[in-house]
Symmetry: C2
Subunit: 447 residues, 2 copies
């Protein structure tokens, strides 16, 4: 990872690093599919107006145009690369609603592009791994619980280290603000969302200036955001902050939902979640559960997995599609783990056995040996020329291939474990490597 990217903001992996990425992709797929999520992919390109309609990100969109359209590409650019997987998924759901069975569980692992200012750990092309459940008209609340559970298990399976899902409910926050008399809840959320960035004092000032809060209301809103606990039942602490005000229905519902999510997470993935009432998620479309995830020891990454509930992911005429989903920013995570040396692959190639050549003309016979191994799922490669055995062994060793195969002039086979130097007779029709050597192993160091 000491290499410099030839195009800043774009990460390209070496084969041994790609093995780590493939392992992560396979792991996510396994967990998502075990929970009944279907894979889909959407095209990389969306109409520009669809992307720009979602605000907040205008400047980061990459427009796409055919060079062919030579009346000025700037004017002609009608399409752009997607910057997340939620906007394309919403379109996909509307377009294919007649062919999908709702509630529809899908996972989607694809690259997205953002024209971000290049800086350490920020990429212009990166892979997101999303899961969502989408309903037609309605979607039971327990989907929020399920989504959080599946992602907690996925993150555990990735073995990225200790992490905490920080869970809140938009209903709780908005209901609380309303209960204490703050009606412009969007303005309050926008201010509170900046808490980690600008600190309590400036948030309080902004609440007064932009959300019409009194000093007391601002203090109440900030006190709410300070609640952070792994104790599922947050209701007593929240209600305490109301003073004389009565909790409205939205607040009651939010408290109930957050308590339920926290109770299930605490029982099924112990130690992986806390209620954190500062979590706001800036995006307007969240309407219920909201989640961010901190990776301990890698706080610099920000949230590695975020999302929540949106009452209307998409609409089609009078039909509305509510959803709940979470998204992992995989590339930043992978890059950080590779950089820190926490994760690595045991070899550079899939090959488990390197079949040497005694003489150049033995190549077809060596391929026969390799084929017998391959048929039994053992990755094998044949030497390209009959160099000195020492050179052939070095070829395998440089790639971390664990075994080399020899066949003598009488057709007797022997296989050598390069690491131990141990050499034994072997039959290509039945010999197998140690299970741990069959495919490259992913090593989690310092854990």
């Amino acid at each position: 990872m000491a290499r410099t990217a030839s195009l800043s903001g774009y990460l390209e992996l070496l084969p041994e690093e790609r093995l780590v990425e493939l392992h992560m992709l396979d792991t996510l797929r396994r967990v998502f599919e075990a929970h009944g999520f279907s894979s889909i992919e959407s095209r990389a390109v969306e109409p520009l107006e669809v992307l720009l309609g979602k605000g907040e990100i205008d400047k980061e969109v990459y427009a796409v145009s055919r060079i062919h359209d030579d009346d000025g590409a700037a004017a002609a650019a009608k399409h752009a690369l997607h910057f997340d997987l939620t906007v394309p998924f919403a379109r996909y759901v509307v377009e294919n609603a007649g062919h999908l069975a709702f509630p529809f569980r899908r996972y989607q692992i694809q690259k997205v592009w953002r024209g971000e200012r290049p800086q350490a750990g920020r990429f212009r092309e990166f892979t997101q791994a999303d899961i969502d459940i989408v309903g037609d008209g309605e979607l039971p609340f327990r989907c929020d619980v399920e989504i959080a559970l599946v992602m907690a298990r996925a993150l555990e399976a990735l073995r990225i280290g200790e992490f905490t899902l920080r869970v809140n409910s938009r209903k709780l926050s908005e209901g609380f603000y309303r209960s204490i008399g703050l009606e412009d809840t969007a303005a309050v959320l926008r201010a509170v969302d900046k808490l980690e960035k600008i600190g309590a004092e400036r948030v309080a000032a902004e609440l007064v200036e932009t959300a019409g809060a009194s000093e007391t209301q601002a203090e109440q809103a900030l006190a709410l955001a300070r609640i952070r606990t792994s104790e599922p039942d947050v209701a007593p602490r929240v209600l305490d902050l109301l003073g004389d005000a009565a909790p409205d229905d939205l607040l009651r519902q939010g408290l109930e939902e957050l308590t339920t999510v926290m109770a299930e997470l605490t029982s099924r993935v112990p130690g992986r979640a806390e209620a954190d009432l500062s979590i706001a998620r800036g995006l307007d479309y969240y309407t219920g559960t909201v989640i961010e995830t901190v990776l301990h020891g890698h706080e610099e990454l920000g949230s590695v997995c975020s999302g929540g509930r949106y009452e209307s992911l998409a609409t089609k005429g009078r039909r509305s599609f509510p959803g709940v989903g979470l998204s992992i920013g995989l590339t930043r995570l992978l890059s950080a783990l590779l950089d820190s040396g926490e994760v690595s692959a045991s070899r550079k190639v899939p090959t488990a056995v390197y079949v040497t050549l005694r003489e150049d003309q033995d190549w077809p016979a060596a391929q026969d040996v390799a084929d017998q191994l391959r048929e039994r799922g053992i990755s094998a490669e044949v030497a390209l020329s009959a160099e000195k055995f020492g050179k052939q062994i070095k070829y395998a060793d440089r790639r971390g291939i664990p075994y080399v195969w020899f066949t003598d002039e009488q057709g007797r086979h022997e296989v050598k474990d390069i690491r131990s130097g141990q050499q034994t007779e072997a039959d290509p029709a039945s010999w197998s490597p140690a299970a741990v050597d069959l495919t490259p192993q992913i090593r989690f160091n310092d854990r």
Copy 2:
């Protein structure tokens, strides 16, 4: 597949179609890795001049620019989406040469983009699956044999139906043209490459006009292109066409190489290859073995897998990297097979077991059942609410989920095979579905 794409030239699959694609991707990966090929990915974006330098395809390139750059995106566009995986791979090899072990075997399966005129079976975004072996300075000829073998096996494993690798050698063609006195071999190749499109008569005329051929020479070149045989040794037929001319060294080498490739293919993947001396491959960089692949019954697709040998994939100062590779156009292939109904998935979701709810409050207990199944690799989904059993069974049936799970008030478990109606007692800690039902099966129909 009766849906209309909302953006012409872009294919988006339904979940059940995506299962077929995933199966194809998994199959290719398995075969490539069994032969020791490493996975890499390259960024989607390349500097414009790198892409345009490769000619032939200028008009099809999609330029990419940040909307942010508001001094006119057309002028500012310095980057574009890659249109194949060979150009990015060449750059990757040069940039990472110090970190790679040569000869370097890699596979790369990624989307590419071309601004083609939309028409049936032509896509603007499509997936290519490439394998290449690249050497540092030199690369033994037998890599040509290996690449052809691996791809033939990959195509067999895909079960796409009968196919034929059409193999030729640039050395053979160019050597033949030179031996009969045609020096502008590039012009000859360009003309002969049009044989299927414009016919023999017009190719002959073009040979006379653009390649300076006499009528006799044109006839000889066309006679060469008519040779098509599954007999490995083509030398006698080729030498016969020379008349009084003597075969030059290049022709001799080409004959030997083609014969070797054909002999190995004939013995290791019988019936999958023929020598077809009309194969030219328009691209200038091929220097030896060239291959196209016809899928029988789908001739309209053109070549589904093409490539060959290039003496210089890339250069770095005085260092040259020769390579040989083949590329499958996966999206067109998949789309054709789905459209014709030749391939389909046995269900729409990964789920093997649908765990029903007797009462709403049973959801946590039902998740426990599902978790016990998931831990043993069985995909399970829990009902979201305790609707009537008939409705819950219908939910599973619509998705093709083979099994539904019931737990009665005494905590006794039963599992029902929806297809047979058979219902039996079951223990979530030990019950397993039939192996064939564990994951969605890919069905090859009419075969």
